[in-house]
């Protein structure tokens, strides 16, 4: 077995026993990146020098007996996280020259624990997309089938884990951007409760929906990563000051008596038959473990996509105003005058999908339309949140598919934004409600593409979500399959 194949907890054991050094593990991962990156294109920036420097420092720490679970573990970050002194682009031309002067809180917390930074991962431009096709730096491919999309927007983060180019990664999830690519790439991906992880230093797409979370090879790694980045940050007013539990302790394998809801609105006709079968199998597995199921309803689900595309674009139209060519980022050198500089720089700096969303959002906030669009969307968002609060009065978890289909082919939905938007139909409501959800491998279709299962929990109910995901993982073999590249 190669070192790059190990999970965080497996590598940690080896590092702890001094069977291997972090430098050796890091070199193994860097070699793996060299070997497969041309096919997968998961990275925007690989940082081998930084990685080896980090690994040497980690080995010293380990020798000194100051070891954390993440000390010496090679990790990569979505290119949406600011990293001091390291190019951070958000997959956009407009930030193609941006070297941040500070670290995102999540990145800093991993650094403090001794992470080895392998590089920065590809994504949809400004996290706007479900396929990692909108990146200025090219498309990432699905390691299970290079003709397919890896999902998005954290497609690079999922593909890198699936292709074993990083032990674990961080992504962000605004409408499914962690869970959907994790499902498409056969990884575990968690979107924590809004406020659980600091957004400071994470390039904003939609501030009231964005949340940081891990993509990993198994649930144990997911728990380790969440524990490392979670917690209050005085620099983020929306981060919540509630204690961070020991998520590893939650992985007891016990789900007996757990009440799991099956929302009618998610098991619709036209659901991909392979996805449907995977869900049925998963339900049977959970039953076998002693969990109980109830049919239930989340009645406002049908409005979720419309609400999401009003709120997310409205916030984005404002969040992306700072990319004006004045202080940093791309500026057209030939622009004459202020207005020209704004217009040409933004026209050339942003891709088509980003521009589409800026225009949608600008429209939704415009005077005369605000009440009909933005305000109404906020009201419906409250109803959707209410749906979940009501549901969790009678169930502990909600089980749904992550996506209606397995990964689709590159280019298939590129010119059909509405079809693309519909691929997040099962993940978006969780962001609107601000609660947490995990994606775990739950099978494969006939073409060998992974299928993901979503478990949605109460706000700050990450322990229950991880416990159930872990029990399911232990009872199945799906997570053990590796993509053959």
């Amino acid at each position: 077995m190669e070192l790059y194949e190990l999970t965080i907890h497996e590598l940690h054991e080896k590092l702890k026993k001094r069977e291997v050094s972090s430098v050796e593990a890091t070199k193994s991962l860097l070699a793996r990146i060299d070997a497969v990156e041309e096919k997968v294109k998961a990275f925007i920036t690989v940082t081998p020098e930084e990685a080896l420097k980090n690994a040497e420092a980690a080995d010293k720490r380990i020798a000194a007996g100051e070891m954390d679970l993440l000390t010496g573990i090679p990790i990569a970050l979505k290119d949406i996280f600011l990293t001091e002194g390291i190019l951070t682009t958000c997959a956009s031309r407009i930030l193609s020259n941006f070297i941040p002067p500070y670290d995102a809180t999540a990145a800093a917390r991993l650094k403090e624990r001794g992470m080895v930074l392998l590089g920065k991962l590809n994504q949809d431009e400004f996290a706007m997309g479900s396929s990692t096709e909108t990146s200025w730096f090219g498309k990432t491919r699905n390691p299970w089938n290079l003709e397919c999309i890896p999902g998005g927007s954290s497609g690079g983060s999922a593909a890198a884990v699936a292709a074993q180019q990083a032990v674990a990664t961080l992504g962000t999830d605004t409408g499914g951007s962690i869970r959907q690519p994790a499902a498409h790439c056969g990884c575990v991906g968690l979107k924590p409760t809004y406020g659980r992880v600091s957004r400071y230093g994470v390039i904003a797409f939609a501030s009231s929906l964005d949340q940081v979370g891990p993509i990993t090879r198994d649930v144990t790694d997911c728990a380790i990563m969440l524990g490392a980045v979670a917690g209050h940050d005085p620099k983020d007013s929306t981060s919540v000051d509630t204690p961070v539990p020991d998520y590893l302790k939650a992985l007891t394998g016990e789900v007996r008596g757990l009440r799991i809801g099956l929302p009618r609105e998610y098991f619709i006709e036209g659901l991909d038959p392979d996805v449907k079968k995977a869900m049925d199998d998963a339900i049977a597995t959970f039953r076998g473990l002693g969990a109980g199921f109830v049919e239930m309803s989340l009645p406002h689900t049908e409005h979720a996509i419309a609400v999401y595309y009003l709120i997310a674009t409205a916030e984005a139209s404002s969040n992306l105003a700072r990319y004006d060519g004045v202080r940093f980022g791309y500026r057209n050198p030939d622009a004459r005058g202020l207005l020209d500089m704004y217009m040409v720089s933004r026209d050339e700096g942003f891709g088509a999908e980003v521009k589409r969303r800026i225009m949608l959002g600008t429209y939704a906030l415009s005077s005369g339309y605000y009440d009909a669009y933005y305000l109404k969307a906020q009201k419906v968002r409250t109803l959707i949140t209410r749906d979940f609060i009501d549901a969790f009065e009678s169930v502990d978890l909600i089980l749904t598919p992550v996506a209606p289909t397995p990964a689709f082919r590159i280019g298939e939905k590129e010119n059909d934004p509405l079809q693309m938007y519909l691929s997040d139909i099962f993940t978006i409501p969780v962001n609107l409600a601000g609660t947490c959800g995990v994606s775990v491998p739950a099978g494969f279709n006939g073409d060998g593409l992974p299928i993901g299962l979503q478990l949605i929990g109460r706000p700050f109910g990450e322990e229950t979500v991880l416990r159930a995901a872990h029990a399911f993982e232990q009872a199945t073999e799906w997570h053990k399959r590796k993509a053959a590249i």
Binding site: R199, A204, S208, V326, R327, Y370, Y374
Partner: protein, 479 residues
């Protein structure tokens, strides 16, 4: 036709906090460009605002002092527009739910008191500054300085209750006085710490409906406020008299010509696309906190004036002058606490103290004659140790040196002469030296009495007890 002016003011008050409203950077004025910045006030990707508690406290102070209701829950909103001095492409302000609302101020114009409504007071961040350079080497270039970006402002919006330029100035002065009293603003209008926009419209006298208004910007002194509004009233009246229509627009006041002109390129109404800032949680201000802040409010000018005329029995004029600024009032109050005779203290403060400070261009707080020194000197006068006239000499000496009054009196031999023998001797000498005047006086020209008093005082170098001089002089001249 006769028109009635309708005026409302929007005042921006820069707050005297040490740090900015949403980050920890210093608010110090005049530092090296962009030296007081961080990811938050530079609007870097990923940076997030964190509200400065002190700004909220200052806003509540302003609200309480202007009789506003303080909202238990208020919301920050984004005002979206592009400008190079606005790093995020939006300004964080308050829109629908402001922290203070429905207040008022009472102003006095032509001896009448009028109540002016305050619609709202809200918190917001300031923008940076653009520096335009046009040099041979650089060509035409603009530079951005973001030191001022994210410094805290209050915007105080009045109701359109003002009916003349004089009322507007009275309101503005009153508001200025209050924010300086509260210690939340330095009140420096030239540096832009207290700046004013005015909405002006006209309607026919007796009409019920307001006319179309123009918004006047760039007014940075009380005098300019009067000028700008008066000019604007005249301009609009001319348009209306000619049968024209006033255009709703923003107009820039030009202090050089005293006129206003339309701001080109801003004709179309801006759509700021306000919406609640998702990076900031709703601001909750508890009753306890409001009570705590209320407890720290200083006595405000109106209350002081009432106390000075009521409790101290001072004339209206004295009370007005003494309460005009908090520094003067604090000085006066400190003096009265040490020497509880308000009128003589008031005379000295309004007279010598303010004169000396003005000549010297010095702040009251830096007055070398402290309340203790001044009141000790007043005691020497009361005890008859020195005359009122000599007291002025002693005051000047204290002002120059900061020395104790008793020490100065002793050192300079300024003790009042109340020895009748010594005074009589001086009188005799004066009478001998001025035989003609003595004759004229005795011949009925009694006006000359003052002349003799002056001569005697002069000969005694001011030290002779004036009452005794009068008495003895009269006796000698009549005798």
């Amino acid at each position: 036709m006769k028109y009635q002016a309708v005026i409302g003011l929007e005042v921006h008050v820069q707050l005297l906090t040490n740090t900015k409203i949403f980050c920890g950077c210093s608010t110090r004025f005049g530092a090296e460009p962009n030296s007081q910045t961080c990811p938050v006030c530079l609007g870097l990707p990923g940076a997030l605002p964190v509200l400065n508690r002190r700004v909220v406290e200052f806003a509540v102070r302003a609200g309480l002092a202007t009789n506003c209701a303080i909202a238990p829950r208020s919301i920050f909103a984004r005002k979206n527009y592009f400008y190079p001095d606005l790093p995020k492409g939006y300004q964080i302000s308050q829109y629908e739910l402001a922290i203070c609302s429905a207040g008022h101020l009472d102003i006095d114009v032509d001896g009448e008191t009028k109540r002016i409504g305050i619609t709202r007071i809200h918190m917001e961040e300031d923008a940076g500054k653009l520096v335009h350079l046009d040099t041979m080497e650089a060509g035409e270039k603009s530079y951005v300085d973001l030191n001022r970006a994210c410094t805290p402002l209050l915007e105080v919006v009045s109701e359109p209750d003002l009916r003349s330029a004089d009322e507007a100035v009275a309101y503005l002065k009153k508001l200025h006085q209050i924010v300086v009293y509260l210690g939340i603003c330095d009140g420096n209008m030239e540096e832009g710490s207290f700046r004013c926009d005015a909405n002006v419209s006209l309607m026919p006298v007796g009409a019920g409906e307001f006319g179309t208004r123009a918004e006047l910007k760039n007014i940075n002194s009380f005098r300019f406020v009067k000028q700008a509004i008066e000019y604007e009233i005249e301009r609009q009246a001319e348009i209306l008299d000619d049968g024209g229509k006033v255009v709703q627009e923003t107009r820039l006041f030009d202090p050089a010509t005293g006129t206003t002109r339309s701001m080109r390129g801003k004709e179309e109404a801006h759509d700021y696309r306000y919406f609640p800032d998702p990076d900031l949680v709703p601001l909750v201000v508890s009753d306890d906190w409001i009570a705590e802040i209320r407890g720290t409010l200083p006595e405000l000018p109106d209350a002081k004036k009432a106390r000075y005329t009521g409790e101290f029995g001072l004339p209206e004029y004295d009370a007005e002058v003494l309460s005009a600024s908090r520094d003067i009032a604090d000085y006066f109050d400190a003096c009265v606490a040490l020497y509880p005779q308000a009128k003589p203290v008031s005379n000295w403060v309004m007279g010598e103290v303010l004169r000396a400070l003005k000549e010297d261009n010095r702040a009251v707080a830096d007055c070398p004659v402290t309340p203790r020194l001044l009141t000790e000197m007043l005691r020497l006068v009361e005890q008859g140790t020195i005359s009122g006239k000599i007291a002025k000499t002693v005051f000047d000496e204290m002002y120059k040196t900061g020395k104790e009054p008793a020490g100065i009196v002793e050192e300079k031999g300024l003790v009042q002469v109340s020895d009748s023998g010594a005074i009589e001797q001086i009188i005799d000498e004066v009478l001998v030296a001025n035989p003609d005047n003595v004759e004229q006086y005795r011949g009925g020209k009694e006006k000359l009495f003052g002349f003799f008093v002056g001569q005697v005082m002069k000969a005694s170098r001011g030290k002779a007890n004036p009452a005794l001089v009068n008495e003895l002089l009269l006796k000698k001249l009549k005798g």
